[in-house]
């Protein structure tokens, strides 16, 4: 027997780790992986709440989130390839054309 709150706490911890990765990582691809980690953390809390409230509809929502995440990953990685082609680097410190 496990309280639902443990799952939610794990989800929060994973989300925080994702945010920290987003902030400290200096490689474009690993930054993107941290975003995927955050999406997964949110999915976990969705499934936990679905178990609590309305299993079928909650899980279908997670299914849609997964679809959007797949589309996002495909487009994001294509953008990374385009950036690499234009700048020949993956270091986010050097991709600062739009920085003030």
């Amino acid at each position: 027997m496990i309280p639902i709150s443990w799952y939610l706490l794990l989800s929060g911890a994973l989300f925080s780790l994702g945010v920290i990765g987003f902030l400290i990582k200096r490689n474009l691809i690993t930054v993107f992986m941290s975003i995927e980690l955050m999406l997964n953390a949110v999915n976990l809390s969705f499934v936990a709440f679905a178990h609590e409230l309305n299993p079928v509809k909650g899980q279908i929502f997670v299914f849609f989130v997964m679809m959007v995440a797949a589309a996002e990953a495909a487009v994001g990685l294509a953008i990374i390839i385009a950036v690499f082609r234009a700048r020949a680097t993956l270091a986010v410190d050097q991709i600062d054309l739009m920085k003030l």
């Binding site: 027997m1 496990i2 309280p3 639902i4 709150s5 443990w6 799952y7 939610l8 706490l9 929060g12 911890a13 994973l14 989300f15 925080s16 780790l17 945010v19 920290i20 990765g21 902030l23 400290i24 990582k25 200096r26 490689n27 691809i29 690993t30 992986m33 995927e36 980690l37 997964n40 999915n43 499934v47 679905a50 178990h51 609590e52 299993p55 079928v56 509809k57 899980q59 279908i60 997670v62 299914f63 849609f64 997964m66 679809m67 959007v68 995440a69 797949a70 589309a71 996002e72 990953a73 495909a74 487009v75 990685l77 294509a78 990374i80 390839i81 385009a82 082609r85 993956l90 270091a91």
Partner: protein, 170 residues
């Protein structure tokens, strides 16, 4: 039994996420992200979401991570150079993360009436999910298929070489 499974896979999950942050090579980060996703699939199973557990392994650990490792190898990404992060991330980012985690934890510790998970809980069958998806939610499903189609077209359009580049480059 359930407690052991939860602690084992929650631990794996956190270890994988921390390893993702510590590794300097993108391939190692990608492999630890796969560990996170597979252990999340097991946690979905304990929550009675068998279809989502399968979809997690197939879509995330399979398709998306293959795409990631493919891009890492295609772009020949080497070790990243560690820098100390920007001033903004130290002054705003990390305190904000700490505050978010603290708020979530305090709310959860105080919360009453949240249920518990048992191993004997009802498993949501794929049949129930598909009945809901193809009867009540047909329109969102079809709209999502259009979204995925647009994403495919966008990815191809972004990743292919432009005409000018081809003439100049080769």
């Amino acid at each position: 039994m359930l407690l052991i499974i939860f602690i084992l896979f929650a631990g794996l999950c956190l270890a994988g996420a921390i390893n993702l942050l510590l590794q300097t090579h993108p391939i190692n980060s990608a492999l630890s992200l796969i560990v996170v996703m597979v252990s999340l699939a097991v946690l979905y199973l304990t929550l009675g979401a068998e279809f989502l557990a399968a979809a997690q392994v197939i879509v995330y650990a399979g398709a998306i991570m293959v795409l990631f490792t493919f891009v890492v190898m295609l772009l020949n990404a080497g070790k990243e150079e560690r820098t100390l992060g920007s001033f903004a991330s130290w002054s705003v980012g990390f305190p904000a993360v700490a505050v978010i985690l603290a708020v979530i934890a305090s709310v959860l510790i105080k919360s009453q009436g949240l249920g518990t998970v048992h191993l004997s809980d009802k498993i949501t069958s794929t049949q129930e999910l598909s009945a809901m998806l193809f009867k009540e939610l047909v329109l969102p499903f079809e709209v999502t298929s259009v979204l995925v189609l647009i994403a495919i077209l966008g990815a191809v359009a972004l990743a292919r070489r432009g005409d000018g580049e081809r003439k100049g480059g080769q």
